[in-house]
Symmetry: C2
Subunit: 263 residues, 2 copies
Amino acid sequence: MRWVRYRHGEAVGFGVLEDDTITPVEGSPFGEHRPLSRRIARSDVRLLPPVIPPTFYAAGLNYLGHTKEMVDALGASARRPAKPDIGYRAINALIGDGDSIVVPSDSSGRVQYEPELVVVIGRQAKHLSEEDALSCIFGYTIGNDVSERSWQAADKTLWRAKNTDTFKPMGPWIETDVDLESLTTRVRLNSTVVAEFRTNDMVFGVARYISAMTRYLTLYPGDVIWMGADSPTRDMVPGDEIEVEIDGIGVLRNRVIAEPVRG
Amino acid sequence: MRWVRYRHGEAVGFGVLEDDTITPVEGSPFGEHRPLSRRIARSDVRLLPPVIPPTFYAAGLNYLGHTKEMVDALGASARRPAKPDIGYRAINALIGDGDSIVVPSDSSGRVQYEPELVVVIGRQAKHLSEEDALSCIFGYTIGNDVSERSWQAADKTLWRAKNTDTFKPMGPWIETDVDLESLTTRVRLNSTVVAEFRTNDMVFGVARYISAMTRYLTLYPGDVIWMGADSPTRDMVPGDEIEVEIDGIGVLRNRVIAEPVRG
């Protein structure tokens, strides 16, 4: 089942997408809800990030190829992780499928994509074993962990490198029926495939992360965990179109634009 | 004016506290609201964190005394910051005034307090100059950035060192009438004063942080920015009572307990 969050005129709501038709629901997929009788054409709505998470988690280096690439680019601070230490991103940066990634005027231009599987939590959970860990998952979506490498190297935290407004495209929807082992992630830059990798070839898998995290923290419905990206990444420039596809989930498509001049 | 968020029976709501009486409001202080005609005694409610922020920002080392202490304790990674690079905390860790800080059973015991001024944002804001930066502030509250130093030194991120459930007491309320220059922060551990410093003696002040942040990111109503702590910090053990007081705002009081044994 595909859950969308959308804006239709002035209204924002959740719905279920089938073919090109949305069945709006009253309520949210994370609580009580019921389908409404009307239907909306997908072409009549703007898709929004499919959830605004209470907490926005992100695994850092979680694929061996990307880890090596970051060690080469950023130096010794990017070592292969020894254990699943989760990180964070910020919701101000979220945009949906079809929205534009805006590059600030003082960026060095080293703005790169990172294609990521996103886990969406469905129920409150703590102290989950690895065996039980996947039971708290509602579904999966796609994220593009857009990163400005000059700021990533220069700043003490990832605040502007990864959390500048519009740097976190997420969507297009949440797919609830996913077989992790069958997934392939593919990136297209201006329609050319520039990366392709088995989505589940992670250093620490989804179950391992959730089990480790819930030893200390409570996950809540709507929380998201971005699972990291494999290499290679490349610079994107204004005018580029970047697509992240995960077979069985969908395609997240965004255009890159320059920050408008402020008058 | 003092804004509280509270649980009264099964109901959770916002209200205005005057002396020991709460005037409940319909709505929230960050949107439309109107006072209700009934009154509730403060003693009849449980205070909650006064806001659940969309994004939970935290300055790292932002006082010279604490910076020196952390350099001594953690090594060169704790340098005096060269610019205001903001960090993040997670809402799973928030508790209110009077709630218990729970120390996980596998902690080394190096669980320490960090008394912090908390800025609460009142309106959507981007591209604020330092001169205009304070105009987006709704009010101020108090935070205790509880930190497990062994995990802080060992982990790649601050996830469990600072974001373990219950590690972020915040409250008791939001005070809207504050003169930053007049504030003094004071910490009492089991009623003994263990720290006292001028709250506004920061490396980078509130206006500087907000101006720098909003160059790249949008602040939203309810966002909080924890402004960092001055030294010294000490270990807390189960049974301890920790109080963070900021003159003109209030007192945030929490007890430390050990994690219950799981059966």
